[in-house]
């Protein structure tokens, strides 16, 4: 089967897919599983991709679908208490301001659908139209999710957060 997709073309997209997946799932393992599944699907469906069209958008669409299916199936999502309390992304060294940690926590508290939109806009710098196409939602929904995500994070960073959970026992 001859397709326009080559290993090199895909490899060039992997760092971005991983970054997005990491921010989306907050777990290096879950993120890499997601990327792996996405890439496997990409190879299987390689004939469906039209050379010359936006490969990144296509891959992000695949990943979104894999992610959604995963959420629906709720397949072994091995998130332990430790994972939630200490996200995999260990912030590097002493030069990371406290606010970055808050940002990470705030992001984790957003509903997944808002997090997706926010990350595609902020990290991937996609246009709203691209986000709408990738997620398969109307552009108005993109805007309202984006707005809610940003306002929520903004309030969170301003200090309106819930007190940290304390386990008794």
């Amino acid at each position: 089967m001859s397709t326009g997709i080559t290993g090199d073309l895909l490899a060039a997209q992997i760092p971005r897919l991983r970054r997005y997946a990491r921010a989306l799932t907050r777990s290096a393992q879950a993120a890499d599983d997601l990327v792996q599944d996405c890439l496997e699907r990409a190879w299987r469906k390689a004939h469906r991709w039209e050379p010359g069209t936006d490969l990144r958008a296509w891959l992000f669409t695949l990943m979104h679908n894999v992610h959604i299916n995963g959420l629906r199936r709720k397949y072994p999502d091995t998130e332990s208490i430790a994972d939630t309390d200490y996200p995999d992304m260990k912030l590097q060294g002493a030069d990371v301001p406290l606010q970055m940690r808050d940002l990470e926590r705030g992001l984790a508290e957003l509903p997944a659908e808002q997090r997706e939109v926010l990350l595609l806009v902020c990290l991937e710098e996609m246009t709203y139209e691209q986000v709408a196409a990738v997620l398969g939602i109307p552009i108005g929904t993109v805007m309202s999710r984006l707005h809610r995500a940003r306002e929520r994070l903004r309030r969170y960073l301003a200090g309106e957060r819930k007190p940290p959970l304390r386990r008794v026992k």
């Binding site: 970054r19 921010a23 926010l118 940003r150």
Partner: protein, 254 residues
């Protein structure tokens, strides 16, 4: 959601995300000039965007796992093998580090109690651990302390180092030359970690004052107090580590 956002709001987002035409951009800028609240809003949105980029930028630099470069041959069931290999690698790295310690230090190590070596090793193995630095997280401190106390057979205390900027991240049980050992890990706001290691005092061990040792960049302050020997290890300069150790020493001695 059916209700549409006001145009000013969608424009504000598009302004921050640089998705406006030049004319629309000028229009929004004029509007912003007379609207301090919207300006703050836009600045906050930009801050969040820049923060997210900074937060996840390091992922772009991570080496790509082999399995991703040839995904068509990978199957999910093969993956645990990768994890096992990582475990073996970790053990080998630990052993290698131990050998370097022994080799490089020579007579030095012979002169210091095994507590120091074990603490330096525990630090080297666990402090860089991102996913599972501890077995029991610090927010379950009571459970952690009673568990370790039970396993060690003597009262274990988790000193508070909050005043010096280090918060309890959690702890784990280890094995030491003299029986069960306890590791408590602390972390400051910048992510710098230190560990407090405790193991049973050797049969003929006596109480000692604080002593300082250093090996392979890991500084260790150690002492013996009754049934337990302690060592605080980290990549801190001596005075900083000493201040932490003194605080821990005072709290444990109570």
């Amino acid at each position: 959601m059916k209700n549409q956002l006001p145009t000013e709001i969608t424009d504000l987002h598009a302004y921050v995300d640089e998705q406006l035409s030049p004319e629309a951009r000028r229009r929004v800028e004029e509007w912003l000039a007379n609207n301090p609240e919207a300006r703050r809003q836009a600045a906050d949105y930009a801050l969040i965007r820049d923060g997210l980029r900074g937060l996840y930028a390091p992922v772009l630099q991570e080496p790509i796992p082999e399995s991703m470069l040839r995904p068509e041959t990978t199957r999910r069931w093969l993956r645990p093998l990768g994890a096992a290999a990582a475990g073996v690698f970790l053990m080998l790295t630990g052993a290698w580090f131990g050998m370097q310690l022994e080799r490089g230090a020579g007579s030095f190590l012979a002169a210091v109690p095994h507590t120091v070596r074990e603490a330096a090793m525990a630090y080297a193995v666990y402090a860089p651990e991102v996913r599972h630095p501890v077995e029991v997280p610090g927010d379950q401190e009571q459970h952690l302390v009673s568990w370790l106390t039970k396993r060690m057979g003597v009262q274990v205390r988790a000193p508070r180092l909050d005043d010096l900027g280090f918060l309890l991240l959690g702890g784990r049980l280890l094995s030491s030359d003299d029986g069960p050992g306890a590791l408590l890990m602390y972390e400051d706001h910048g992510g710098k970690r230190v560990i407090l290691y405790a193991c049973p005092t050797e049969a003929d061990g006596r109480d000692t004052a604080l002593r300082f040792a250093q090996e392979e960049g890991v500084s260790v302050v150690y002492w013996t107090e009754g049934p337990l020997s302690y060592a605080l290890a980290g990549e801190l300069e001596r005075t900083g580590l000493q201040a932490l150790a003194e605080s821990a020493y005072r709290q444990i001695a109570i």
